[in-house]
Structures are given as C-alpha cells and as structure tokens.
C-alpha cells in the first residue's frame, strides 16, 4: 500500500547558517486510516512541518511526497465577528476545486451541508460561526476540510480550550474519519491522548521519535519537552501520568 505521506531527510531553515534550522532530520511515513499525534514544544517545528506538507514552505533538503492535504487550523485564527454561517464556512472548502471564474453553487452547498451533517452539525448550518461553541466551531472547520475531499487532514491543536464532552465528541469524529481511510496528523500537547492513537511523531527542531504509542517513554518525552514534565499520580486509580506544565498549552504564533 502506498503511504499517503512520505518524508525523508527533511530540513527546513528560515534563515541561513549559522542560524539553527527550524526542522532537521525528519523522516516518517503515514498510511491510510492512521491517526498520528505530532507532539512537541512551542517552536518545536509542528507548524513548520504542516506548512511544508501543505506546500506553503519549500524544504531546504530532503524529499516530501504527500497526497492532497486539507488543514483544520486553530479556531482562534478565524474572525468570530465575521458575518458567516457554519454553511458559508463549510462551502469555502469547495473553492480549491473550482476554476477561478466559477463561484460555489448549489452542488457545492449541498456537499457542504452533507459535510456538516457528517460532523453532527446539519441542524446548525444557518447559525453564525461566531455564535457556535468552541467544539462546534472546530467541527465546522473539519466539515470544511471534508468538503475539500482531501485524503490527508492536518489538525492544529484541535482540542485546545474544549470541555470534556466536546473533546470526546471530537475524538469520536477523528476515529470515524480515520476509519473511512483518511490519514490524520494532529498537533497536540496531550501525552495521554497521544497514547491512544495509532502513531506518534515527536519533534523538537529535529525528530525525537516516530512509532507506535509505546515510543512515548519518559526519556523520549524529556528529549521532546526538556525536563519540565510533571509526574502526577491519579488519586482514584493510583496510576501515574506525565503531563506538561500549563504554559505548553499556549498556542504557537
């Protein structure tokens, strides 16, 4: 089976040497149906990797082969006061498949409505985007990615700021998308969540680890995040969890 993403010897630099590259020595492949957690500190190269996969950044070295990608950005990037409905946002996903002289029409609106139904928001199509909850906004942006009909979806910290119910709904949705054969790369800071997915890619300006959840050892996490990890014992079940201090949940800009 041909992988949907194949990256070999990737190196990306925003400035010439002696400045350190933003990413170096990155190598991984992603197959259909895989959910890959991309872990790393702020400035560790997650966003840079996404920009390379989207074709917005040229790699300085290495090869990148990737199927068509759609991106689900952090909802904070979008303007909540902008006068658009959930359906308007989902329809935006159709633009890339239209010639410049065509505007989205009835066919594209029907497809966008189906995508909203697929993420459980069919009855919210006419609601203003800014009036939706954080979890609903995230699902609208996923619907937009579905309208793009891309086999690879990149999600930039989609769980940030969501309550437990919204997180579970979103996690179920991602599992469903993966089961339909899409490859999902999810930038996240949640180590325990990453352990539940198919693959993990740890970055800190270079590739620290790539593999199944079992690669998430203490030494790998310390190499990824430095020595700031906090070991918390669960009061109910007694097991230990490695978590990050709160400042790591701030967004990259």
């Amino acid at each position: 089976m041909t992988p949907l993403i194949r990256v070999e010897g990737l190196r990306v630099a925003y400035a010439p040497p002696p400045a350190a590259p933003a990413l170096d020595g990155v190598e991984f492949t992603v197959d259909r149906g895989q959910r890959v957690a991309v872990l790393g500190p702020n400035g560790g190269g997650k966003t840079t990797l996404f920009r390379v996969l989207l074709g917005q950044l040229e790699p300085g070295a290495g090869t990148v082969e990737v199927a068509r990608c759609a991106v689900v950005p952090q909802t904070e990037r979008s303007r909540l006061e902008f006068p658009v409905s959930a359906l308007d946002v989902a329809v935006m996903g159709a633009i890339s498949r239209l010639p410049w002289w065509r505007r989205p029409g009835r066919t594209e609106r029907v497809r966008a409505l189906r995508a909203l139904e697929a993420v459980g928001l069919g009855d919210h199509a006419d609601v203003t985007f800014g009036e939706l909850s954080g979890g609903q906004r995230q699902r609208v942006l996923i619907a937009r990615a579905l309208v793009q009909d891309a086999p690879v979806i990149l999600l930039d910290e989609p769980f940030t700021g969501l309550d437990a119910v919204s997180m579970q709904q979103l996690e179920d949705l991602l599992a469903q998308l993966a089961s339909e054969g899409r490859a999902l790369l999810v930038a996240t800071h949640d180590v325990e969540q990453a352990r539940r997915w198919d693959r993990v890619l740890c970055l800190n300006r270079r590739q620290i680890a790539d593999g199944g959840p079992e690669v998430l050892t203490r030494s790998v996490l310390e190499a990824t995040y430095g020595t700031e990890l906090v070991d918390i014992e669960c009061a109910v079940h007694g097991h230990h969890e490695l978590v990050l201090p709160p400042h790591h949940h701030d967004h990259e800009h």
């Binding site: 979008s78 303007r79 935006m92 800014g130 009036e131 909850s133």
Partner: protein, 287 residues
C-alpha cells in the same frame, strides 16, 4: 394623502436635474453600498478615505489643464499608491505614518493648486461634489461602474469571504490573499474615481462607509449586509435630495449627513436590541 404632502414628495422630481441626480445617487449607492460592506470587513475604511483625499491633486490638475477628470483622478491615484508604497517601505517611518504623511501632503498640494490664480471657478465642486450637475457622461460612467463592480463582487464573493474569515488559512483553500486584496483595492479605486464626480473629494467616503456601517448593525450575513448596505445608500441618497430641495442645502452634504444619521440610528438600534436580549453581552460566543 393630503395634497400638500403629495406636492412635498413629488415637487423635487419635476426638475430634470433632480431626476438625474437621483439616478446618479442610485447608481453610486448600489456601487458604494455593495463595496462598502467589504471595505468595512477588510478594515479598509482609512485606506478608502486616504485614497479619496489623495485624488485631489490629480483632479485639480485635470481641471486646470482641461483633461477629463477621470483621467486626472486615475493618475492621482497611481501617484498616491506609489508614494504610499514607497513611504511604507521605510522602516523608520512605518506604514501607518507613511500613509498619513503622503495623504496629507497630497491633499495640501491639491488645495494649493486649487487656490492658484489660474484655477477655474467652481473648483470647490471637486471637494464637495455637484450631484445636481451630473452629465450624461457621468451617468454612463456610473452605470458601467455598477455593472463591472457587481460582476466582480459576484465572482469574488466566496474568495473574499475565505480571506476575510481567516487570512492565514486561505492559501490552503486555494485562495491567494494578495490577489484578493489587490482586486478589492482596484475596485475601491474605481468606485472612488467615479463617485468623486458626484459627491466630491471630501464626501465620497460617506457613501462607502455609512451605509455599510448601518447594514453591519442589522445583520450577521455578508450577502444580506451588502443588499441592506446598497438599499440604505439609495434611501439615504433620496432623503438627502429631499432635504436639499426643501431646505435649500448643498445636495452632496445633505446626502452625506443623511447617510451618517442612518448609520448612527442603526448602530444605536442594534445596541438597544442587544442590551434587551443579552444585557449588553458580546455578539459572539466565548473563544
């Protein structure tokens, strides 16, 4: 309806120049109203005002030399755009200050030229417009502008939405923000060039900004906003012409004042309605 009221309503339209003025204001209202919604959402109000003021030297020079105002205005716009671009490149000045310096300098130059001994009479029409004196050529230019503008806005609608909603993600959706921005600025320049003939250099921005401000207060959908904005501009134009006719005030200024009053009324109405509904809460859910 009482005969007096009927006369009050119909008397202005007995005059051919009032009918022509109304036709001009309908065309400019549709163009300005439709584009104004995007100008507001793209936060280009200051740029619109700056471009309108920077047109003045070109307009005055064309009046002095006898070349068509459209040509002089277009040349003035090009010079202003180049000057703003150059000033914005100097890091010690900064883009905002650069625009302010260039626009102030060009407006001053325009006034200096207008006050020269060789200046023809009624040059103040360039500043305040003469909507009652529009020619057939002005009406034709406004009609052509409306056709081009509406076709462009229909074509660009979804792309303008995508960039306005999230500029950083737009390229991943197949939309290049720089192209959309450039198209919007070209349309803005076109509207200013044509509308400045009727409303003048100082009042032209009112037809772009005020109706769109009123519409933004009344709806949360872009398409509806553009329709309300265009309708508000036409309504304000008609009311302004009535005011001008019956109170013998300057037509352009009456139209501008009416449009601003409509914007203030709509904004106040929206605030009162929101206060009653939410106790003054925001229009959006928390992030």
């Amino acid at each position: 309806m009482a005969p007096a009221v009927l006369h009050w309503l119909t008397d202005p339209w007995a005059e051919p120049l009032m009918r022509r003025a109304f036709l001009e204001i309908v065309l400019l209202g549709v163009a300005g109203g439709a584009l104004g919604g995007w100008v507001l959402q793209y936060q280009l109000s200051y740029s619109a005002e700056s471009l309108a003021h920077a047109l003045l030297p070109g307009l005055v020079l064309s009046a002095l030399t006898g070349i068509p105002l459209l040509v002089g205005g277009a040349a003035g716009l090009l010079v202003a755009a180049a000057a703003v671009a150059l000033a914005g490149r100097a890091p010690e000045i900064g883009r905002d200050t650069g625009v302010a310096v260039v626009v102030t300098a060009l407006l001053g130059l325009g006034v200096l030229l207008a006050l020269s001994p060789d200046a023809p009479p009624r040059l103040n029409d360039l500043l305040f417009g003469d909507v009652l004196g529009v020619s057939d050529g002005d009406l034709l230019a406004a009609a052509a502008l409306v056709l081009v503008l509406l076709a462009a806005l229909v074509l660009l609608h979804s792309r303008l939405l995508a960039v306005g909603f999230d500029r950083l993600t737009a390229p991943a959706l197949g939309v290049r923000p720089v192209v959309v921005d450039a198209a919007l600025l070209v349309l803005l320049a076109l509207v200013l060039l044509v509308a400045v003939q009727g409303l003048g250099n100082l009042l032209v921005v009112s037809v772009l900004i005020a109706p769109a401000t009123a519409a933004r207060a009344l709806t949360r959908r872009m398409g509806t906003m553009l329709l309300i904005s265009g309708a508000t501009a036409v309504l304000g134009g008609a009311v302004g012409l009535y005011v001008s006719f019956h109170l013998d005030t300057a037509a352009g200024a009456s139209i501008a004042a009416t449009l601003v009053l409509l914007a203030l009324a709509a904004t106040a109405g929206e605030r009162v309605a929101r206060y009653r509904a939410t106790g003054g809460g925001p229009r959006t859910a928390p992030r």
